[in-house]
């Protein structure tokens, strides 16, 4: 579900361009009703669930079509191209010294609520807001796996049920409290490798080399087997991003070490525009997101519809300037480093599992998702085992005669996630590993 807030436009082409923005009052975006299902969290996973809910751009329909109650999948950012919204001050400089975020903005979650200008926080993210349910006041939009999961936990602690699921691109820990409350289902896998501009000084890099780059001990390409002595610009997804935490963990570093070293620049995760045109910028990039830019399915074959993202500087359905033909598809000139040999070590080319987290109690919730449905929202969409209890509280089992799929699922058959791998594939997410696709994990790791 992409919710466009007219007030916020983040038009970045190139990593360091200043952008401007003005906040304006929200207009009539859809606010979920009490019987809708609401999800928040990871940027990496958002399109997969957006397509599951509303269909994709290849002509497939999603779950919501014709249904009274809907899945509302709040994206990580208020931009359908998944770019970060910047407040006044934008990316504002390249060093800690010259970055200066206005009150209410900031890259670090929480500091955006300060009432005074604060320095050293790049970029000056807007901390946009959303209305979780009709009738509620706006709250901070959770941006990323960690932010989404924290919001789900806060929802549980507050005994509200405004958030139903949280998307995550890394396994979430419940930090000791509420340990038996959260379960997850795996959506699929996504590759993670380094992205640079097409014209670049970058070379193939190993995890160890990336660690030294992001901890600022290797600052030029020559230090990591490159030819150029230009300064490397390491870009990192924002705090709260699962891609950020996965990446930092995979290169063997820590968040505090990288923040303390201070040369890494925060940007919205999975945004190839961040490196476009900068020959020294590198960032970890989701393969699924890159496929969407390239108009490919998760198996690398073409969707036949071209890339998903179009140039936001072109107004809707106008063909001027000439660069804006009927659909101006964004095709960032980038290199995705899935091949190549680093000067030492083996190439950093990983993959990660994508998750949807939810309350364990929702498995056996007795609230029908749709009028006349025999299933609750979780069993309809994500997880429907031949176990637990149905809407009437009766046991679901082969012996009770209410299982389907040859004893695999509860009433109603497979959950929508399992019957619609094609929608996930259109978001570049790989569902071919049957041990991962739809796999359930109890109680969070």
């Amino acid at each position: 579900m992409q919710i466009k807030k007219l007030a916020v436009v983040a038009g970045t082409v190139g990593a360091l361009a200043l952008t401007l923005l003005t906040a304006a009052p929200a207009s009539a975006d859809y606010a979920p009703g009490p019987d809708d299902v609401v999800g928040v969290g990871s940027d990496t996973v958002q399109y997969a669930i957006d397509f599951l809910a509303d269909g994709d751009y290849t002509g497939s329909t999603g779950y919501n079509l014709g249904q009274r109650n809907r899945v509302i999948n709040f994206d990580a950012t208020p931009d359908a191209n998944a770019r970060l919204a910047y407040g006044a001050g934008g990316l504002n400089g390249t060093t800690t010294a010259n970055s200066n975020c206005a009150p209410g903005t900031g890259a670090t979650v929480g500091t955006g609520n300060q009432t005074t200008t604060h320095t050293g926080d790049r970029p000056c993210g807007l901390n946009p807001t959303i209305v979780l349910r009709a009738g509620l006041k706006p709250v901070q939009r959770p941006n990323g796996s960690g932010a989404g999961f924290k919001a789900l936990k806060a929802d549980v602690t507050a005994s509200t049920h405004n958030i139903d699921f949280a998307r995550a691109s890394s396994a979430q820990t419940s930090n000791g409290s509420n340990t038996a409350t959260y379960d997850s289902v795996k959506v699929g896998t996504d590759g993670l490798a380094m992205l640079s501009a097409l014209t670049t000084n970058a070379v193939a890099l190993s995890a160890a080399q990336l660690k030294s780059i992001y901890e600022c001990t290797a600052t030029t390409w020559t230090a990591v087997g490159g030819v150029s002595s230009a300064t490397i610009v390491p870009i990192l997804p924002q705090v709260g991003s699962g891609t950020r935490s996965s990446f930092i963990s995979l290169i063997g570093s820590t968040d505090s070490a990288i923040v303390a070293a201070g040369c890494a620049i925060n940007a919205e995760e999975n945004d190839p525009e961040a490196v476009n045109g900068n020959p020294n910028a590198i960032e970890p990039m989701s393969s699924g997101r890159l496929y969407m830019y390239q108009g490919k399915l998760s198996d690398g074959s073409a969707t036949g519809q071209g890339g998903y993202f179009t140039d936001p500087s072109c107004a809707y359905a106008v063909t001027t300037p000439t660069a804006c033909t009927t659909t101006k598809v964004l095709t960032p000139d980038v290199t995705y480093w899935t091949t190549g040999t680093p000067s030492s070590g083996s190439l950093f080319n990983s993959s990660r599992t994508l998750y949807v987290y939810f309350r364990d109690a929702d498995i056996n919730s007795t609230k029908a998702f749709q009028p006349g449905s025999t299933r609750n929202w979780l069993r309809t969409l994500f997880y429907n085992p031949c176990s637990g209890t149905d809407l009437a509280g009766a046991t679901i089992s082969v012996g009770a005669g209410n299982c389907t799929g040859g004893g695999t699922y509860g009433p109603g058959g497979a959950p929508y996630l399992k019957n619609n791998g094609a929608l996930l594939s259109a978001a570049g997410i790989d569902t071919t590993d049957s041990a991962i696709y739809g796999a359930f994990t109890a109680s969070g790791p």
Partner: protein
């Protein structure tokens, strides 16, 4: 209006006929004419047809969870639509608009009209969009379990499902929510009894009503008729007729050998036409014969008018071909051979029908009526020695006998001439003979005749309880010349020693033979093979670890002159002192001979004998 539904079902379902006033305990009909919701459904744009894997229309079945392999819809789809979704909706009298009923997806976003590859006609040729169903799409009961089904008293809504197809495409996600729909009646698989003529798990289409004319396919005829030898080219023919009205002028006929289709689909182009299958030469056969059941199946092109049908089976027998005749040919390496040389005979067996080589059998090579030799496997060859043949002319033949006389016929080659000529130089025969002597064993010891082994004077022990003496017993020789390198056992037996010079030795004038012992035997020399020796073995011990074994036979402790027993070298039977497992050769031993005597033995010189004997095996 009576509604008659005939089901052309691929599989086991029988014809189901439903008319007004049928079934149900109430006596009222469950379904009459058009369902109450049908007229008011502005979202409906036509109906759905279901097909089995062969392209037969299905209007009912025995298993609501394996409903069909394909479906198509009754009208053209939107030009921009490329995908379709099959949904299951639950009719609900509380909601007048069918588009508001609860629904559950059975199969989502499948390619609309995939490229025909294995898609059968008429599904692929109807001109309307179609869909291949996967396991989820066939599992209607599973999908239906996702919606709450009506369970009230209005029979028109009871046990009814509405199957819907919606199409979508890029920029054309939904056709305003419209769908093609067909209503089916079913009996849940968990039901304990039939419902409205449906067994548990069975289903039928109720709306739109399907009324198909029946057809029948004639039992195929064969050309040539059964039985035929395996490999014979056979075709089958049939005709298709309709139960009412005109015979089909189009449609597809498939011929089957059991479950396997024979050749390609055949097309009807005129009513009453004789349809002939492709020719087949590959009807299988095991053993003496195999009976095949040949059927023909009709799949109508106009599936809204005619039902499909399958003929009864024709039994067609395939016999094993008669044994193939063979020809054996023989070639000799040379036509003439000089003793003592050999010549190679080579036979080749071929099948007359196609000159292929035959290897399943044995060839016997003969010289006239004498067998020279046999070769049981191809290539069939024999090296014939000239030495065993007489000088002059011989005729060699090769006779082939097949392993399985039902596969091949035996055959014999023509004769090949072979001339044996005398050797270059005359031979001279010599008789030779020899023999091996039986051999014997000879014991030689030095203490015979005048040469007595004199032991030192007996002395008392420290406690003055007994007398003893000992001496080395040297030069015990065993010479074994027997053929066969056999075993032997050397034994010794002592007599009592008596006082010399006394006519009748009295009570204390005798030393008991049991007091004589022979111990610590050592091997002085030996040339037995293997030359392995173990001494000091207790009497009765194992002889298997070495060739020569020497036993200790220690004498008793100063038994009284008249004590009985077999200790030491006393008693009546000789005691084994050396054993050889393979004793051929000469072995020399020595040992320690010891004698004890009680203290009441009178003074004097005592003499006795030790007799050595040998037993060979």
């Amino acid at each position: 209006m009576n509604r008659i539904v005939t089901s052309a079902v691929a599989g086991a379902s029988a014809l189901a006929i439903v008319a007004m006033g049928v079934a149900g305990a109430s006596g009222a009909s469950a379904y009459s004419g058009t369902p109450p919701w049908a007229a008011g459904d502005a979202a409906s744009k036509g109906s759905i047809n279901f097909f089995d894997a062969n392209g037969n229309v299905i209007t009912g079945g025995a298993n609501i969870n394996t409903i069909a392999s394909y479906l198509n819809v009754s009208s053209a789809g939107r030009a921009s639509a490329t995908k379709a979704t099959l949904l299951v909706a639950a009719p609900d009298p509380a909601n007048a608009l069918p588009s508001t009923w609860a629904f559950s997806a059975a199969q989502s976003n499948y390619v609309w009209s995939p490229t025909p590859g294995s898609i059968p006609t008429p599904v692929s040729t109807s001109g309307n969009p179609f869909m291949a169903l996967n396991s989820a799409g066939q599992a209607i009961a599973d999908a239906a379990s996702g919606v709450t089904l009506y369970s009230g008293v209005n029979a028109s809504y009871l046990n009814v499902l509405e199957l819907r197809v919606q199409d979508s495409g890029v920029g054309a996600v939904s056709d305003g929510g419209k769908y093609w729909r067909t209503d089916i009646e079913f009996n849940p698989a968990s039901a304990g009894s039939a419902y409205d003529g449906l067994a548990p798990g069975a289903w039928r289409v109720i709306y739109p009503a399907v009324s198909l004319r029946s057809t029948s396919v004639a039992t195929p005829t064969a050309s040539p008729v059964s039985p035929q030898y395996q490999g014979t080219s056979v075709t089958f023919s049939t005709t298709v007729s309709a139960g009412s009205g005109s015979n089909p002028a189009n449609g597809t006929v498939k011929f089957f050998d059991g479950a396997t289709q024979i050749g390609a689909d055949k097309t009807i182009t005129s009513a009453g036409q004789t349809i002939t299958s492709d020719a087949t030469t590959t009807l299988s056969r095991t053993g003496a014969f195999t009976d095949h059941t040949i059927t023909a199946q009709f799949i109508p092109a106009d599936y809204t008018d005619l039902s499909g049908s399958t003929s009864s089976g024709l039994t067609f027998r395939v016999n094993k071909s008669p044994a193939a005749t063979t020809t054996t040919s023989l070639a000799l390496g040379a036509a003439s051979v000089q003793q003592p040389d050999a010549v190679t005979a080579t036979a080749v067996v071929t099948k007359d029908a196609d000159s292929s080589t035959v290897t399943a059998g044995t060839v016997v090579f003969k010289d006239g009526s004498n067998t020279l030799g046999t070769d049981a496997s191809a290539p069939y060859t024999l090296s014939v020695s000239s030495s065993g043949l007489s000088l002059g002319s011989h005729t060699v033949t090769a006779e082939f006998t097949p392993t399985d006389a039902t596969d091949f016929v035996a055959s014999t080659s023509g004769g090949a001439s072979l001339t044996i000529t005398a050797p270059a130089y005359a031979a001279s025969g010599n008789n030779i003979s020899t023999s091996i002597p039986a051999g014997t064993i000879v014991i030689t010891t030095p203490y015979t005749g005048a040469n007595t082994l004199t032991l030192p004077e007996m002395t008392l022990d420290a406690n003055a309880t007994f007398y003893s003496t000992s001496a080395t017993f040297n030069g015990i020789q065993v010479a074994d010349t027997r053929a066969g390198n056999l075993a032997w056992t050397l034994s010794a037996l002592a007599s009592n020693l008596t006082k010399s010079g006394v006519g009748s030795p009295g009570a204390n004038e005798t030393i008991n033979a049991q007091n004589v012992g022979l111990t610590s035997i050592t091997k002085t020399s030996s040339n037995v093979t293997p030359n392995t020796y173990l001494g000091g073995v207790a009497s009765g011990g194992s002889t298997s670890g070495q060739n020569l074994t020497a036993f200790d036979n220690a004498g008793a402790s100063y038994l009284a002159y008249n004590a009985s027993g077999t200790t030491g070298l006393g008693g009546a039977s000789p005691h084994a002192i050396v054993h050889a497992n393979n004793g051929l050769g000469t072995s020399v031993f020595s040992g320690t001979l010891g004698i004890t005597a009680p203290t009441n033995t009178l003074a004097g010189t005592y003499t006795g004998t030790v007799t050595l004997t040998v037993i060979g095996s």
